[in-house]
Every structure is written in C-alpha cells, then in structure tokens.
C-alpha cells in the first residue's frame, strides 16, 4: 500500500479528505457528508483512503470540536475560577459594553464560570511585579476543599497583575493542583499579558475546552493507532500551524479556529509555489464568504478574537463572544454564500443574506423544496452557472424554478425583469464581498492593487472577477480543486508553537542584552517542549515578533524582531533601534501617521517555534499549446453581465492543458466549482494546473 500524507478537514456539512502520495506526487480527493461523531468521520476517511490503496504516514486534521462546544454551549464541564478577593466578577463583567446598542434586553454570552463557582482568595501583586500580599496556604486549602465538594471538572487560577509576576498564581497551583485530580491551570501560563478580563477569559476558555478537547483527541489517537499503527497525528491551530495531540490538549484555545485557517495555509503554499508574495484570499462557500491576506509571503495574524462571537458587516461584534488571546489568521466574514437568500425589505430595498437556505432545502434550483431565491439561483438565471445541471452533470437543476422564484420574490416588487433582478442580487452580494476584502486590505493600510487574488470555495471562482474589479485587483489565481482547497492546506502546514513574554517597558528602558534575555527564556522553553515531543532541537526555527504601541495607546501592533551581533561577546542580541524604526513605519502604514519622537512601549516579545514540513513537489499538468483543444470547449451560451448579454464559450476544466489560453467572456466548469471569465479578462493555465486570470489593460 502506498504511503500518503492525509489531510482531513471536518466541516459542518462535508468532510473533505486529501491524500498526497509522496512517491508519485499524486493527489486523491474525497468529499463525504460529515458524521455526527467527528472521530467517525476521520476513521471513515481513513478507511476510504485505505480502500483506494493509500495508507496514511502522517495524519493532519482540522476540527470544529472546540468551536462547536463554545457555540452550542452544550456538554460544558463544570469549571471553577479562583481569583483575587474583590475581583470575583471580572470574568462576567467583561468590558461593561453591551453587544447590541439598541436592544433593551441584551444579554451577555453565558458565563463560562457561574458566580457561585468563582472563588476568591486574599492576595495581591502590584503591576510592577511586587508581591504585596502573598497567598496563604490555608486559604487555598479551604478553596480546594470547596472545589472538591462542588465536583468541578477543571480549574482556572487568575490573579490580578499576574502578568507581572506569576508567583502567587503558581503557589495557588501547587496547593490546589496537589489536592484535586482535575486539570488546574494559571492565567499567566496560558496568556501572560496585561488586561485582567482578557487574560482571565483566555484561561477560562482554555479550562473549559480542556476536558472536551482532550477526551476527543485521546479517543481519536487510540482509534487511529489501532487502525494504522503509530502514525503521527497533527491538529491545525488557529494560527495555521500544526500542533501535536499533546500540544492541542495542553492549549485547546489554540485550535478554536482550526477550520478557517486551512484555506489561507493552502494559499500560502500557492504563494510560495508561484513566487507571488502578496495575495488576497477569497473563500466563498455555501453560507459565508471569507477574506484574508498574505503579505510578503507571510500570513497576517491577529492576536485576540472573540470565540463564538457574532459579526456585523464583516467585523466582529465586541462583547458577543469569549475573548481569547492567541494568534489566529484574521479573516473578515460576510454572510454571502451560494445559499444566501435575496429578499426585498419593507422599504423596497433589495437585500442579500444573512439568512441562508443552507444545504437543506438549498437553492430553489436544486428542487428540494426551497422557495426563496438565493445567490446560486441568481447565477443560474444569469446563465453564469450551467442551467441544466451542476457537479459535472451529476446533479440536475431547474432553471425554470429559479427564474420563477427570482421573478416572483424580487423582480415583480421592484418592477424589474428576472434577468435584471438576478444581476442585482449578484451585484449586491459582490459589493458585500468587496467590503470584506477592503477590511483585510485597505483598512489595515495595504493597497489591494498590489495584490493578486486567490479564489476558492465552491462559489469563489464564479464571483472573483467582479469582486476584484472595484478593488483594482487585476490578477486572479484559481487553484486546481477550488472546492477542496482548504483540506489541501492541512498537508502543507508547518508545525508551530507560540510563546509570549510580557514586557510592558518602554524601548528606552531596555537594552539589547536585557531584551535578549526574554528570548533566551522563551527559546529554552521551546527546545524543552520539542524534545518532549521527540523532535530534534536542531530542526526548530524561530520567528520573533514584538507587540508594541506608543505609550498609553490601548492597541498594539505586531512588528518583526531582528537580532544583531552583540556589542560584547559572541552571542546575538535584539536590535531595539530597528524595532522602534519598524514600529514607526508600520504605524504610518496602518494609521496614516507616525510619531517618531513619542516613546514606544513594548507590550510583549513573542516567539513562534516552527518545525518546517517538507514542501510538496507538485506534478506538472499535461502540456498543451496556447490554443485550447476543441474538445475542451464543450458549449457556448448567452451569459448575463452588467453591461449586457454576451455569447460566452463554455470549457470543461478537466480537458484544459497547461499553456492553454482563454479569452473572456467565457465560463469554465468543473466538478467542484464554476469559473466566470468576463470580457475584460483572459485566463491561462499554468504548469501546476492553476488558472491565472488577468484583466486586460
């Protein structure tokens, strides 16, 4: 049996499986409906691969177990919090802000630890790190007894100012951990940074997820090793790096956004392959569209997010979820997916989403009982999608039903015809998606015109050109299997672990050796952890960044940290001058100005330990000429564009060869997606099978 790298991406509706045969450089792809129990989905995927003669040598997995637990709020373990006397309710008060301004009955998300399980002890550390009141052993013993009596399943210890000194928290850990047989963790170990609510929340979420994630992953590991022997299992983290089962169990907060990260990591792989270092990622599926960014060959991260929170116009709504501080790939999201429903509101305005027809009943054209017109229906009426069938002819659809519903629900109330209404639905959806692309680019200080757009997800390639145009993006990449692109990202991810040291000092108060001291400590820990996982320390590489702000600013920017030869001795030390210059530059880029004379505060120094995975070699596609073989051009039909109806050639993507060139207007159909090439664009197939679209000058 051939040995393969196997990636399994479990989503809400589908489980996508990608296997890569390292000898043959050959991919196999499978899409299965998701099982109720995720571990069964994984085992199902493995057995399907084995049937196809592929034995996994390494298993990569992205899971929604953590995020689902937070979203559904079911099956929560009983978690307790031990905190500083006088600060019992920090976890519930949050930042005092309500998540909806005009809702007189607004509620907070259900607290992870209810008030009666929030215990307090007398202790105090100052913000500068002095232990003013040591925590008393007998107080802790009393608390431990109460915790045991309550039968709690996990405990989180979070004391005020523990970012400056962990001593009191660690003393508490020793006593409580020694008396209880459940996971006990300190906030300063999970997230050693200032702001008591965010740190406590991060630690409490970690404590909540610990029992859930560890049970799932231990079960999974056993099942996998029974079926396949000692195969390493890696889990995708929110930062797009893989971690071991042990790593994920220790820090379950790291895998909350496991799923969405994969698509961006796939894009990173394409970025490296094609040498295109600046990419906007555009992922449009059935219910949502997501935008992300790769800049200078690197993924852009954010260091805080609200797990299970709501979003509004692409931005997360503060106070609607559970803050977690862990680097994650920051994606902007909007509810425009193929299944999003178009409607006319009471004021006579055409709206699209946020309600989605989902996969059941799905768009009207599926003829499964859907009656509300969706984006997919609009695309069928506009002949952008095939009007007879989808999924390479395996799924017949009804153009007639789609048109009737667009006509009745949209066109008639707006005095338009069905074609105009369909173009309207598409235009409004495209505008919403252009917005999220702007959030990840312009709003963060980057000019989208300097980026290529990579489009994936089942619906991404159909809308990419018209989303790109208003942004001034002139180049689009469509990967070979856009609908399974996220699963592909799993097997291209490096392994990573994040470490942070709280600093809270002005750059002028530090010197190179002192700052380097923080890194020595972090690196020692990183080496220790990787040795414990059985890796060779020499395979580790380090990425260093600093979180910095102007003194008194509440918002940090992340800047790279560079090392320089030390002035004395042979070692290397941190280049503080460079750090300040880089910070000023980044501030100007993101916010439009900088204040080089103002002091720069270094909030934290961060280390990412990376174990690179071998780069996949990609097989070249069949080589052809610029002219497409006539067999690949399967049809032609009248397709609607904003400027009018145009006869467009229809191509079958399977029959395209590298070097083939296509001029718009054209439509390329494939099993898992459809690509629209408007008149102003032309496309070329590259040697890896990507379709590269370029706007004509």
């Amino acid at each position: 049996m051939a040995v393969s790298l196997v990636g399994i991406d479990i989503g809400g509706t589908f489980t996508d499986i990608v296997a890569y045969d390292e000898q043959l450089h050959d991919f196999s792809l499978i899409k299965l409906p998701s099982s109720v129990r995720p571990e069964e989905g994984v085992m199902d995927g493995i057995s399907r691969m084995r049937e196809a003669g592929k034995a996994p040598s390494v298993l990569f997995h992205s899971t929604t177990v953590a995020t689902n637990a937070l979203l559904t709020k079911t099956g929560w373990p009983k978690v307790a919090l031990v905190t500083t006397e006088g600060f019992r309710d920090v976890l519930e008060i949050g930042r005092q802000k309500r998540s909806e301004l005009y809702n007189l009955r607004v509620e907070r998300p259900l607290p992870i630890v209810p008030r009666h399980l929030r215990f307090v002890v007398r202790e105090r550390t100052s913000s500068s790190g002095t232990v003013e009141v040591p925590v008393a052993r007998h107080d802790l013993e009393a608390v431990a007894d109460s915790l045991a009596e309550e039968g709690v399943e996990a405990v989180c210890i979070s004391f005020l100012n523990s970012f400056s000194n962990k001593a009191n928290e660690h003393a508490a850990l020793e006593v409580i951990g020694g008396r209880l047989d459940v996971p006990v963790m300190c906030s300063s170990d999970v997230d050693p940074l200032p702001k008591e609510f965010e740190r406590t929340s991060t630690a409490a979420v970690n404590a909540l997820l610990y029992p859930i994630v560890s049970a799932y992953l231990r079960r999974l590991r056993t099942m996998v090793s029974e079926a396949c022997g000692p195969v390493p299992v890696y889990i995708m983290q929110s930062d797009g790096g893989g971690t071991t089962v042990n790593g994920a169990i220790d820090r379950p907060i790291s895998i909350i956004e496991s799923g969405p990260a994969s698509g961006v990591i796939s894009s990173l792989h394409v970025s490296r392959l094609l040498g295109k270092r600046n990419l906007l990622t555009f992922d449009m599926g059935g219910t949502t569209a997501k935008a992300g960014m790769i800049r200078n060959g690197l993924v852009e991260y954010s260091h805080e997010f609200e797990a299970a929170g709501k979003t509004h116009s692409g931005r997360s709504v503060r106070g609607s979820g559970y803050p977690v501080r862990f680097p994650f790939i920051d994606l902007a999201e909007t509810s425009s997916g193929g299944g999003s429903i178009a409607w006319v509101d009471a004021g006579g305005a055409l709206r699209v989403g946020p309600v989605s027809a989902g996969s059941h009943p799905g768009p009207v054209c599926y003829d499964r009982g859907g009656t509300e017109p969706t984006i997919t229906d609009a695309n069928v009426v506009a002949a952008r999608l095939n009007q007879e069938s989808l999924l390479s002819g395996t799924m017949p659809i009804s153009m007639h039903l789609a048109a009737a519903s667009v006509k009745e629900k949209i066109a008639a109330p707006l005095s338009l015809d069905a074609e105009e209404a369909s173009l309207g639905i598409i235009a409004i959806a495209n505008n919403q998606m252009a917005k999220i692309m702007r959030i990840v680019s312009i709003e963060r200080g980057y000019d989208p015109r300097r980026f290529d757009l990579i489009a994936f997800g089942g619906a991404g390639p159909l809308h990419a050109a018209e989303v790109a145009e208003p942004l001034g993006v002139g180049s689009i990449i469509i990967p070979p299997a856009p609908g399974l692109f996220s699963a592909f990202g799993l097997i291209t991810a490096d392994l990573k672990r994040e470490y942070r040291a709280s600093v809270m000092k002005m750059a002028t108060e530090l010197d190179g050796p002192a700052a380097s001291g923080f890194y020595e400590e972090l690196e020692r820990k990183a080496v220790e952890d990787s040795v414990a996982e059985g890796w060779k320390a020499k395979t580790l590489s380090f990425v260093r960044t600093a979180s910095a702000q102007y003194s008194n600013q509440g918002w940090e920017l992340s800047v790279p940290v560079r090392m320089q030869p030390a002035r004395s001795g042979s070692s290397r030390e941190l280049d503080l001058g460079r750090l300040v210059t880089d910070f000023n530059r980044k501030h100007r880029q993101v916010y439009g100005y900088s204040s080089p004379s103002d002091p720069v505060n270094i909030v934290s120094l961060n280390l990412t330990a990376v174990i690179p995975m071998p780069r996949l070699a990609m097989a070249s596609g069949r080589k052809g000429s610029a002219t497409v073989r006539s067999s690949a051009r399967t049809d032609e039909r009248r397709v609607l564009y904003p400027e009018g109806e145009r006869l467009s050639s229809i191509y079958d993507r399977r029959l395209l060869e590298s070097g083939n060139s296509i001029r718009g207007p054209a439509v390329v159909e494939q099993y898992d997606s459809t690509i629209l090439i408007p008149k102003a664009w032309r496309a070329k197939v590259d040697s890896f099978g990507n379709l590269l679209m370029v706007r004509k000058p």
């Binding site: 006088g86 600060f87 019992r88 309710d89 920090v90 519930e92 008060i93 930042r95 005092q96 802000k97 309500r98 301004l101 005009y102 809702n103 007189l104 009955r105 607004v106 509620e107 907070r108 008030r115 009666h116 913000s127 005020l160 100012n161 970012f163 200032p194 702001k195 008591e196 609510f197 965010e198 116009s313 931005r315 503060r318 509101d345 009471a346 004021g347 006579g348 305005a349 055409l350 707006l414 173009l423 309207g424 409004i428 505008n431 919403q432 917005k435 702007r438 709003e443 208003p470 809270m504 102007y550 008194n552 600013q553 509440g554 918002w555 916010y591 439009g592 100005y593 204040s595 103002d598």
Partner: protein
C-alpha cells in the same frame, strides 16, 4: 432608471460602510484610552444641505446630537462667511453649536468633486480633558460654561491639506494631558481624510448625479422604514415625570408628553424645569439623542440612520429649560447624566403605548469618575464611566453591571489603570443586593474602589440616582441607589454623588452604582431563580 435601483443600494450601503471605516481608523490611531479603548466617538457623512447621510455612532448620546451639531455648525460657517477650500478642516467644541459638551471635539471637512463641495465628512470624539476647573472637565459645581474648559468656536484646523499647529497647540495647551490631545486630534484628522477618499472614489465610479440621487433616495428609504415601524404600534399619548438630583438646588423636574398618531410621533417637554446654574443642562442636540435612541430601541434598530429617520418625529423642548438651555449655562453633565434620565423618562412615557417593549428602569447614570493632579514631570488626568444594572423586562432578569441606554463605552482594565496612573483598583465586582426584586430581578450595579497613590489628587464624581431610585415596572421593586464613600485613615464616610474632593495618597474612594428595577411581583418569582438568588446574593428585596 432600473439599474439605478441597484446602484443606489450599493451607494447607500457604501455610505454606511464609509462612516464605519472612519470610526475604525479613528479608534486605531487615537492616543487616549478614552477613544482607543472605550470608543467614545462617532463618525458621519453629510450632504451639502447638512443632512445626515450615514452615521456610525458607538454611543447613542451622539445619535441625534452629531447631526444637529453639524448642521448648526455649517449654518454658522455660512453666516460668518468662512469659505471652505479643498483640504480644509474645521474644529469646534462649543456645545451650543456642535451639540454635546466641551469634551466632545468635532472636526468637519468638505469633500470636493470637480471643484465643488458635494458632501462633508465629520467626526466627534470625547477628549478626556479640555481644561476647566477640574481634571476631566466635568466640574460638579460649575455655574457657567467657561468653568468647563476651553470653548472653541469654528476654527480652521487644517488649511488646504496642512494642519495648523497653532490651532492644535491652542487645544493641547489648555489640557492637562497635551500629549494625548495632539494624538487624538491627529486621529480625528486621519478619519476625515479616509472618509473623503472613500466618497471621492464612489463619485468617480458612479458620477455625481447617481451619488446625489442615491443619497436622496436613502433619506426617503429611511423615512419610509421609520414610518412603517411607527405604524406598527397603537396611536395614543403617554406622559412621564422624573427629576434630576442636584444638591444645593434640589430636585429639577422633567416632564414629557409623547403623542403617536399614524406614522408620526411628537415629543413635548413642556413642563420641564428652567435651566439651572449647574452642569446638568442638556443642550438640545443631547435631548434629540435620547429621543432617537428610545425610538430606535422600540421600533426597528436596523433602519439605516440618516436624516430621513428624523422626518416623522417632532420634538419640542422650550428654550431656556433644562433640556434646551441657552449659552453660557453649563452643560458638561447634561450629556452624560440628564440624557440618561431623559431616556428613562421617555421609556416610561412609551410604556403607556407599547408596554411589552419597555423594561424597568436601568441604573440611570454614566457614573463619571475623574481624577488628576500634578506629579513630578507633568500633570495627569484620568476619566472613566461605570456601568449599572439593566432593568428587568417581562421574561428575563436584567443584565448585571453593563452600560445602558445613552452610553456603551468599554471599561478601563484595572491593570492598565495601575500601570498608567497613580491609582490602584482594590475592588471591582458586582454590587451585591442591588438588583431590584421582582418576578424578574433588575441587574446588579458595580462596586469599584480606587486607591489613590498621589497626594493633591483632585477627584470629581458625577453620578445620578443617589436619591431617586431606578423604578420597577408592573409591581417590580426599585433598584439599589448610587452610593459613594471615602475611606481615609481607616474611617469610612459617605460623600455626595456629585462633588469634587481633594484626596491624599492612601485615600480610597468606593463607588457603588445603581441597580436596575425589577419587573412583576417578587412573590411570583420562580423557585429555581430564588435558589440562584440565594447563591449569587445580587438581588435587592425590601421588606414589603
């Protein structure tokens, strides 16, 4: 024509998005925690007639006051003959023009297209100190506007693309933290520049004609939606009375009559007290904010906010009264406290029309805490507001310790307070026994204690609901009233909820904010909730 319906929809949503984007830019680049962390700011786009096209308000007290203030400011510029050129920006904070209180500095810039002004971008942000007699610029004993800080009538902050550093200096040198003022003003400028760029690119893409058509159809659309929403509840009148508390002056009565007929609503404050020599006067813009806030809550919060929403609403507040004072009566707390009481008042009046949409009263104050003084190397100034208990409604308990009604700022983390100011927070939790009893209990207030670590600290508290408790509804009990304490040399004494004190290192101030009112009879409270009350101890039940 038909295509224009789609273009209009896209331009309309782009306008909203543009104001939101300006708000993000302002927050991201501001210096002071008040804007950066607490988001005490709003951004807007106006048409050439000064009508609001789109607004992103992060706190409701800017809802009606920002457009009112911008319109008045533009009228003033015209009257004064101040001509605006491409690249100009005007700064103003006179509340009688710009609409709230001196702390709120407004910056307006014209947007040009082919040599003509076609729209305005504007924003307003709360500066934590603009001078005046106390740090934080909300003195409890102010008798006129001049004591509340520097008054800026419209002045050009930027001329043809160049910031006038003299103007920035004039503001910053009048503040106790000049460094933050400069940073915040720069952030406000950046936000308007961004707004201008966005509108310009819309104009380039769609042309002026389509832009104007879409803007005007957006106004009509919001008007239509507002009228539809108003039709959804019964016609009739409702009235309510309440009072502001002001020691030395006594209670200051407020009265409102709301009348709803068909798709219009009128609000009349006739019967409200005359303006007072105390900072609780609320300029007319602030009065409008409370009206629009309450209407938005009880109708459809998703209607795009613009001038069209205001058309079916008429508001009458007689001149020279608490809710429409005349220059130079002091107004700093009208914005924070009187606006909160006005919201309570309006909600109670509307209870007579739409009882099922109205909760019991919330803790009814923004609980402004201001401190400052001199330390070696400069001056410092600290400002924050504190949450209250939310009123209970039929079917659910009120939320504990959350910002209600006219504000929604983030708190300042205790760890940052201690890092950046000569202060420590020694207690910060829900206030036990403060949520009004009832079948559904009111939310609990907050208890927050500040340890002062510098001598000669000037402390000001500006809070309400110390004497007149938040009311329950439908038989529900009152919420706990506001309490403020000073602990000095181990002795604890009660201090008024509006006062300025001189504090020394080691003093501790404790603020206990008001709880929300209960809803329904306490005797009907379910057993399961009573058990939770016994564990959590947040409910206030007075013996009947």
């Amino acid at each position: 024509m038909k295509e224009n319906a789609i273009a209009s929809e896209i331009i309309r949503s782009s306008l909203t998005f543009c104001s939101e984007e300006m708000g993000i830019a302002l927050r991201n680049s501001a210096y002071s925690p008040n804007i950066k962390d607490r988001m005490d700011h709003s951004c807007a786009i106006l048409d050439t007639g000064g009508r609001l096209l789109a607004q992103a308000e992060h706190i409701p007290v800017h809802l009606g006051s920002l457009p009112w203030g911008l319109k008045r400011t533009l009228e003033r510029l015209e009257r004064d003959g101040m001509e605006l050129f491409n690249g100009d920006m005007v700064m103003v904070n006179n509340p009688y023009l710009s609409g709230t209180h001196l702390n709120d500095v407004t910056i307006i810039s014209p947007i040009f297209h082919k040599g003509r002004i076609v729209a305005y971008a504007a924003n307003k942000a709360h500066h934590s100190d603009v001078g005046g007699k106390v740090p934080g610029s909300i003195p409890a004993d102010a008798t006129d506007l001049f004591q509340e800080g520097i008054i800026i009538d419209p002045v050009k902050l930027m001329r043809r693309g160049r910031i006038d550093s003299d103007v920035v200096g004039m503001l910053s040198s009048n503040s106790r933290d000049p460094y933050q003022r400069r940073g915040d003003v720069r952030a406000q400028v950046a936000a308007n520049l961004l707004g201008g760029r966005r509108i310009s690119s819309l104009l380039q893409e769609y042309g002026l004609r389509a832009f104007v058509a879409a803007s005007q159809s957006a106004l009509d659309y919001s008007e239509k939606m507002t009228r539809l929403a108003l039709r959804s509840f019964p016609d009739g009148n409702g009235s309510a009375d309440d009072s502001m508390e002001m020691s030395g002056i006594g209670d200051i009565p407020m009265h409102v009559l709301v009348s709803k007929e068909g798709d219009t609503v009128s609000i009349d404050y006739d019967g409200t007290a005359r303006q007072v020599r105390a900072p609780v006067n609320a300029v007319y813009g602030v009065t409008l904010s409370a009206v629009y806030y309450v209407l938005k809550c009880i109708t459809d919060p998703d209607i795009m906010m613009n001038d069209g929403c205001f058309r079916p609403v008429s508001v009458r507040a007689p001149e020279g009264t608490l809710l429409n004072p005349e220059f130079p009566y002091p107004v700093s707390a009208g914005n924070t406290e009187t606006s909160m009481r006005n919201a309570d008042l309006l909600l109670r009046a509307f209870y007579q029309l739409v009882p099922e949409r109205i909760p019991a009263s919330c803790g009814g104050s923004m609980n402004n805490v201001m401190m400052g003084g001199a330390v070696p190397g400069g001056t410092w100034s600290f400002y924050e507001t504190n949450a209250v208990g939310m009123g209970a409604s039929g079917g659910r308990d009120g939320t504990d310790g959350i910002h209600c009604n006219m504000t929604n700022t983030l708190n300042t983390p205790a760890e940052l307070v201690e890092l950046y100011y000569p202060l420590s927070i020694v207690r910060y939790q829900f206030r036990e026994g403060s949520g009004g009893g009832g079948k559904w209990r009111g939310g609990a207030g907050i208890e927050r204690s500040y340890l002062i670590r510098a001598d000669d600290t000037t402390f000001t508290i500006m809070a309400e609901r110390e004497r007149i408790a938040p009311q329950g509804l439908d038989g529900g009990g009152e919420g706990g009233r506001t309490e403020v304490y000073l602990e000095r040399n181990g002795e604890r004494s009660r201090v008024p909820s509006k006062c300025t004190l001189s504090l020394a290192s080691g003093d501790i101030i404790t603020l206990r904010t008001a709880g929300g009112g209960g809803y329904g009879e306490y005797s009907h409270r379910e057993e399961e909730l009573l058990a939770k009350d016994r564990r959590d101890r947040l409910i206030l039940v007075r013996p009947s």
